[in-house]
Symmetry: C2
Subunit: 284 residues, 2 copies
């Protein structure tokens, strides 16, 4: 098993890959798109991509790429996001005058950053890269916001742990692949559909599920590219596509949706699995 | 009239402020939060904040801040996004080895960037800042991705115009304020509500509008902070809150929604107004 992830070693994607299978080889890819390519053409058998963060919301780019490629969602994992202020050994917090990180991570640590004064914030392409830069430059006044995992990798120490604004910061990743992930029973289905721009269209579409007691656990709208202010809808259903009520609801939806595609039917990430794993922290 | 916007002069927010009222004074604010503060406590009478991009989707931070503050949405404007590769006069495209821009703008120009080779991409906090940096450094090999507006401001020329991947890239801004914006009739209402985590809850909530023929033009879910994987819903309704069907639908929704707030009832941005203005280009 070889699992592709976006980012460098030490990135949150690598932690997600490890959670899917601790023994699998991990394949670093520069972009989300190249994760799809690594799975579609090899050398990876599976890939992990962030789909939603409990604070920031949906990662739309992943949904867009699912539509462009023919790979299925075969699973999901959740990874807690814990940010640290990291610096080379010997640097003290009161000496820090420059902080590197990804804009998203910087935004997630806004409250902590407000407690500092006279500090220049420098945007980086990703947090693991910010940690690497701080390690390489070895300035006495520079630090990075990244995961403890990235800190370990680049020999940095934590000047301030868990500095993200919200404790319950979790990122959910989907697993994509050319074949199923183990033999767990599917209990979740992700679909994408479009609707005609008519009053009540979404109400009717949700009716196909509500009238059959198929629970919707997430609904997301996305701009329909090339048609400003028209939308595609992405929905997560709490059922396998093979269960009869869900299968019939999808047939019913196809009657009214100009486009409908099942992106995958897979085993949802359950709380007890998370508890069975060592908690460790990662970030963007 | 004084309109606050996020970013530096030359930013997309400044263009939105100009579209609201060409004569108004424009107040630059460093963050989205400080736009709210400038309007709430002065010196601004109104503020503009990006709420949705036709390619990238919703700007969630604006919704979150609407919930935290007591200001109403009093209007909206749309601004087309056109990115240029900008450099000081004398720099030629084949000499460019470093490109500065905001990660979002870089992502929006991915296809163009793939046509270049041997170029280092450097993340900036915003596109206007990237243009400013290129102008100040005046290196023979550096360029910025930003708007023509930012280029004019900092004396840069366009090495490649309209390099964004999608032509129909438009950002919609809301206008917030302590008092209405002119005397246009309200025909659009934005509400936020939460629902109990029960099967069919969203279907029933949308029913209050569908059963009264009140059209929903946008529905967005947001993570409920502090409650992972629970959601708040933001909806745009094609009606004033004072029209009877809409007023009754909102009363009906309040019966089932633990929280419900009307964020504003205002005049929607109409196509003909946009055509009456000079088109000009802006970006993040």
């Amino acid at each position: 098993m070889r699992i592709a992830f976006q980012g460098e070693m030490g990135a949150f994607g690598e932690a997600a890959a490890e959670r899917v299978n601790r023994e699998a080889r991990r394949v670093a890819c520069p972009t989300f798109d190249s994760v799809f390519e690594a799975v579609g053409r090899g050398p990876a058998t599976h890939g992990v991509l962030p789909i939603e963060n409990s604070i920031a919301g949906t990662i739309h780019q992943t949904y867009d790429l699912l539509l462009e490629h023919d790979l299925s969602i075969v699973g999901e994992v959740e990874v807690p996001v814990v940010h640290h202020l990291l610096a080379p050994p010997g640097v003290s917090l009161d000496r820090v005058r420059r902080i590197y990180s990804h804009p998203q991570a910087l935004a997630q640590c806004e409250r902590f950053l407000k407690t500092l004064s006279d500090v220049e914030i420098v945007a980086s392409a990703n947090t693991a890269g910010a940690a690497k830069r701080v390690a390489e430059e070895a300035r006495p006044d520079a630090a990075a916001i990244a995961s403890a995992r990235a800190g370990d990798l680049f020999g940095l120490v934590s000047l301030a742990p868990a500095i993200q604004d919200f404790r319950d910061n979790v990122t959910r990743f989907i697993v994509i692949g050319r074949r199923p992930l183990g033999d767990s029973m599917a209990d979740k289905t992700t679909v994408v559909f479009s609707l005609r721009n008519e009053p009540g269209a979404l109400f009717k579409a949700l009716g196909v599920f509500a009238l059959r007691n198929v629970n919707l656990t997430k609904l997301e709208s996305r701009p329909f590219r090339g048609r400003p202010w028209e939308y595609l809808f992405y929905a997560d259903l709490a059922a396998s596509r093979d269960e009869l009520p869900c299968a019939r609801a999808l047939q019913h939806l196809a009657e009214m949706a100009p486009t409908l595609r099942v992106l995958g039917s897979y085993c949802a990430w359950h709380e007890h699995e998370m508890k069975a794993l060592d908690p460790f922290d990662v970030c963007t």
